[in-house]
């Protein structure tokens, strides 16, 4: 099989050394299953990273909405400031780590490295964000939250409660349970009844059209069970996933 030129090189020591090692069994070919396993693990890694990123990003959106934070940038600079301060930065950082790992794993495949990095980064990010938005829209975490609440699951329950319930940074969420001379009362998800005092400076960026049963977010400091409202906004029905209507009550209805 060797050509004359190749025969000339056959005396070369490197070749002899390696061929001797092969014959003595010191150098062996890795079996095919090794590469199949490696490929499967690579794909599995990509799936796990993508799922983890999807889960976390949709959870962040869910937690922001549940805690009422998603609606407070509408209150102007003050609202934006509180929003930025209250973001779950650790979760955001962990999501970014998952996305970077996903990118590193995908980069080993020709379909990824053949395209400019910008395409693959934005493509990956776009898919993860789109998938998360779908999970968020269809109320995936609401179902999980309800389930873990019912079951009282050890790690998940505190995790969901910790992020999804208002954490006392001046943002309160609840449904209107009545109107008073000074303002209104809301019932929070924990079952607390809070009195919301409305002053002339209180902002209503989305109007004053409030009814009993409306889900609202109140921005303002809480003292005991009273909140001095800096801003109040009704949560838009469209911001709720389809099944949420049953959970929180429709507009104008009493919340059970």
């Amino acid at each position: 099989m060797n050509t004359p030129m190749e025969h000339k090189h056959n005396n070369n020591t490197l070749q002899e050394t390696l061929l001797a090692k092969i014959k003595e069994g010191q150098m062996v070919m890795r079996p095919r299953w090794h590469f199949v396993l490696k490929a499967v693990l690579g794909i599995l890694g990509i799936i796990i990273m993508a799922m983890a990123a999807l889960y976390l990003i949709s959870f962040i959106l869910f937690a922001l909405r549940e805690a009422g934070l998603l609606f407070i940038p509408g209150f102007g600079f003050h609202g934006v400031g509180v929003f930025l301060f209250s973001l779950p930065w650790i979760l955001i950082l962990v999501s970014l780590v998952f996305i970077v790992c996903l990118e590193l794993l995908v980069k080993r495949y020709a379909f990824s490295y053949r395209k400019p990095l910008l395409y693959s980064v934005f493509g990956g990010l776009g898919l993860v964000v789109f998938g998360s938005a779908l999970l968020f829209h269809f109320g995936f975490h609401e179902q999980v939250f309800k389930f873990v609440e019912r079951q009282g699951m050890p790690v998940m329950d505190p995790f969901y409660r910790g992020y999804a319930l208002p954490r006392g940074e001046g943002v309160h969420r609840g449904s209107i349970s009545g109107f008073t001379e000074k303002g209104l009362t809301i019932t929070t998800r924990r079952g607390d009844v809070l009195e919301v005092q409305i002053a002339s400076e209180t902002a209503f960026p989305y109007g004053l059209d409030l009814q009993i049963g409306d889900e609202i977010v109140v921005l303002g400091e809480r003292a005991s069970s009273t909140i001095e409202a800096v801003g109040i906004r009704r949560i838009d029905e469209r911001m709720r996933p389809p099944m949420r209507g049953m959970m929180w009550g429709r507009r104008g209805q009493e919340v059970k």
């Binding site: 099989m1 190749e6 070369n12 490197l14 061929l19 890795r30 490295y113 053949r114 400019p116 910008l118």
Partner: protein, 188 residues
């Protein structure tokens, strides 16, 4: 008719150790020459070339014989030499080697007869000035002019977009010309 690299690989995969010797004969000099463009120490290069062949043999069953063998073995060599460089000269290939040529899209680089249009870069000019140009441009020149790989194959070896290969080659030629003119004072 001489068997192709891929036909020889099929024999190696089937357990013919002698056939691997033929592959080594075909690629030993090429890989040595490729390594010399990364490293100066001849002993180091020989050790690394040995490592390249060891890895080639160990992983040969992962090679798909419907594809070309040369980009595959150059990819192993590339990884080996770059890793050696990282150990020796960390600053040269930092961990996060940000390269905007890979990040942003470029118009599709066509592999045309630009050699005639721009004037073929001769080996003499390349030998004289190669080490003075940026490292990332050196490699595409080596693969293109010494190893005579096409754009697609270079892209596979370096795992970068094909358009980036075209951009790097164009910039490499421009740098080479500039250095030559600066050093020798005449048009390359």
């Amino acid at each position: 008719m001489e068997p192709t690299d891929e036909q020889i690989v099929e024999k190696v995969q089937a357990g013919d150790a002698e056939a691997f010797g033929v592959l080594m004969s075909r690629y030993e000099k090429k890989i040595l020459r490729y390594g010399r463009k990364f490293l100066q120490d001849t002993e180091d290069i020989k050790d690394l070339v040995q490592e390249v062949f060891v890895k080639t043999y160990m992983n040969i069953r992962s090679f798909d014989t419907s594809k070309r063998f040369s980009p595959w073995i150059y990819r192993i060599a590339h990884n080996e030499f770059v890793n050696a460089l990282k150990k020796n000269r960390f600053r040269f290939f930092p961990f996060f080697d940000f390269d905007k040529d890979i990040v942003f899209p470029h118009p599709i680089a066509e592999e045309t007869a630009d050699t005639e249009a721009e004037g073929r870069i001769n080996k003499e000019l390349l030998d004289k000035c190669l080490h003075q140009i940026d490292a990332k441009y050196q490699e595409v020149l080596i693969l293109s002019y010494y190893e005579e790989l096409g754009y697609q194959e270079i892209a596979e070896v370096l795992q970068i977009p094909m358009s980036t290969v075209g951009v790097r080659l164009r910039r490499a030629k421009a740098q080479l010309k500039k250095i030559y003119e600066h050093t020798y004072g005449t048009q390359a």
